[in-house]
């Protein structure tokens, strides 16, 4: 198995002629928590959507397991990874149905769906929520359902787009614990996009700073947070530049 789950080569994306991402070269090592850090509107969400194959890059390539993407593999690859959106939109059904959805579209049998969903709901601490309507939950609960929805699929890669941006501190803590747990317990590669430096510090093994559509610095989280090379990163870490 290739040590890198995903590598990108000069990945670029334009919207209406405006460059959002410019020649992104990323290497995402398996089994690690990667943080993509940068101010809002810098293209973090776009990058995640490109990696999850929800959108097409304007140019550049994405390699999975060291192989370039082929059109035929799209669905199969997409099913090996999952993206939790910044503001998750849940289906207007029960919590159980929401979490089971990804398994159902994979046509798993009912028994194993039931088992996996129960387990996932336990992990996100929503054990007795099975029959509640997803739309009636609080923001934090919704976010946890969305994570359970993704986790239950046992993806190789889990993308999280600003998973705690609108939440209260208690829910932030719960969700951060959850992310660590998922990564350690299931060996899932996690890619988290965040503008919150403290969150990145708490969670990430690897960090990539995105600024102006380019990667300005990338490497081991510890090293970057202690001895940043780039001036902008330093200012950010010192809290002088608020994203």
């Amino acid at each position: 198995m290739n040590p890198y789950a995903i590598r990108t080569h000069d990945l670029s994306k334009e919207y209406n002629g405006e460059a959002i991402l410019k020649k992104i070269n990323l290497q995402l090592e398996r089994g690690r928590i990667h943080a993509i850090i940068g101010p809002s509107g810098v293209g973090k969400s776009v990058l995640l959507r490109l990696l999850n194959l929800l959108e097409e890059p304007t140019s550049g390539e994405i390699h999975f397991d060291g192989r370039a993407l082929k059109e035929n593999d799209r669905l199969e690859l997409q099913r090996r990874m999952t993206l939790v959106f910044q503001k998750p939109v849940l289906f207007n059904t029960s919590v159980y149905e929401n979490v089971a959805y990804g398994l159902k579209v994979r046509k798993e049998n009912r028994r194993s769906i039931l088992e996996k969903v129960r387990k996932a709901l336990e992990v996100v601490d929503l054990k007795n929520y099975e029959h509640k309507r997803a739309r009636n939950l609080s923001g934090g609960e919704k976010q946890r359902v969305a994570i359970a929805q993704a986790m239950v699929l046992e993806p190789e890669i889990l993308f999280l787009d600003e998973p705690t941006s609108d939440l209260d501190p208690r829910n932030v803590a719960i969700i951060e614990e959850l992310i660590k747990y998922i990564n350690e317990e299931f060996k899932i590669t996690v890619v988290i996009a965040t503008h919150n430096m403290f969150q990145a510090k708490r969670l990430a093994h690897e960090a990539t700073f995105l600024f102006g559509g380019r990667i300005i610095e990338s490497g081991k989280a510890q090293e970057i947070f202690t001895k940043p090379k780039d001036r902008r990163v330093l200012r950010f870490i010192e809290g002088k530049m608020i994203f």
Binding site: N52, L54, L75, Q78, R79, T82, L83, F85, K87, P88, V89, L90, F91, N92, T93, Y101, G102, V105, R106, R133, Q149, A150, L153
Partner: protein
């Protein structure tokens, strides 16, 4: 005034005594219009989803056609189907004229654009993020469409009810292609017209009451469904 009351009283008597002719007409109506709505939803819902969720050339044209057919005069549909099903017409050999089958065809044609157009509006009103969620969770194209339809289910159910309301009360096409044959193609709407013409207001009133009751029950059911969904 008292002859209206007398009519109402006799109407209730007909219903409560389970008058065979009355109930034959009621069940025939429900059977024909129910089948037609079922068929029309098999055509209309996929059509609405296709036009509402995908971009392709001719999309605007289809939308316009659907909206035009919304107001399709029932007698015109009846006439066209008569011309096709008549023994002189291209489909005469099927022997469907003056059978419930012919009425089902006519009502399907009437209900499909309604169900299609309303389904279109229904899927369009679903949050586009649902599509992205479904894809990200590994759904295929068809599964994604089904997920969107599931989100829009209450509105689609309402579309079916509007379609059902249109065909069960429709009279022009039913009269022309069904022929209002007693026991075979006499449905509530044509029977009401006939009995009113005959001056027998009791049966007409009885059937009118049934039509209203059905409409009420369906709407009450819909309201209840919406309530428990929220």
């Amino acid at each position: 005034m008292d002859y209206i009351l007398a009519g109402l009283k006799e109407a209730l008597q007909l219903l409560l005594s389970f008058d065979r002719e009355t109930y034959t007409i009621i069940f025939l109506s429900l059977r024909i219009s129910g089948t037609a709505v079922l068929l029309a939803s098999c055509l209309g819902i996929p059509l609405g989803a296709l036009v509402g969720l995908h971009r392709f050339p001719g999309r605007g044209v289809i939308t316009t056609i659907l909206n035009t057919c919304f107001a399709l005069p029932t007698v015109v549909v009846g006439l066209f189907i008569y011309l096709f099903l008549s023994h002189r017409g291209p489909l005469g050999m099927l022997g469907l004229l003056y059978t419930p089958g012919a009425m089902i065809i006519a009502q399907t044609i009437l209900a499909t654009p309604i169900i299609g157009a309303l389904s279109l509006v229904a899927v369009k009103s679903v949050d586009p993020a649902i599509t992205k969620s479904a894809i990200s969770l590994g759904a295929t194209r068809i599964q994604t469409t089904l997920a969107v339809l599931r989100e829009a289910r209450v509105a689609i159910l309402a579309a079916l009810i509007v379609g059902f309301g249109r065909v069960i009360t429709e009279i022009g096409a039913a009269m022309i292609v069904g022929g209002n044959i007693k026991g075979t193609t006499r449905v509530m709407s044509t029977a009401i017209a006939l009995e009113t013409g005959k001056g027998k207001f009791e049966l007409a009133l009885a059937l009118g009451i049934i039509l209203l009751t059905i409409a009420f029950l369906i709407n009450a059911g819909l309201y209840y469904l919406q309530r428990i969904r929220e």
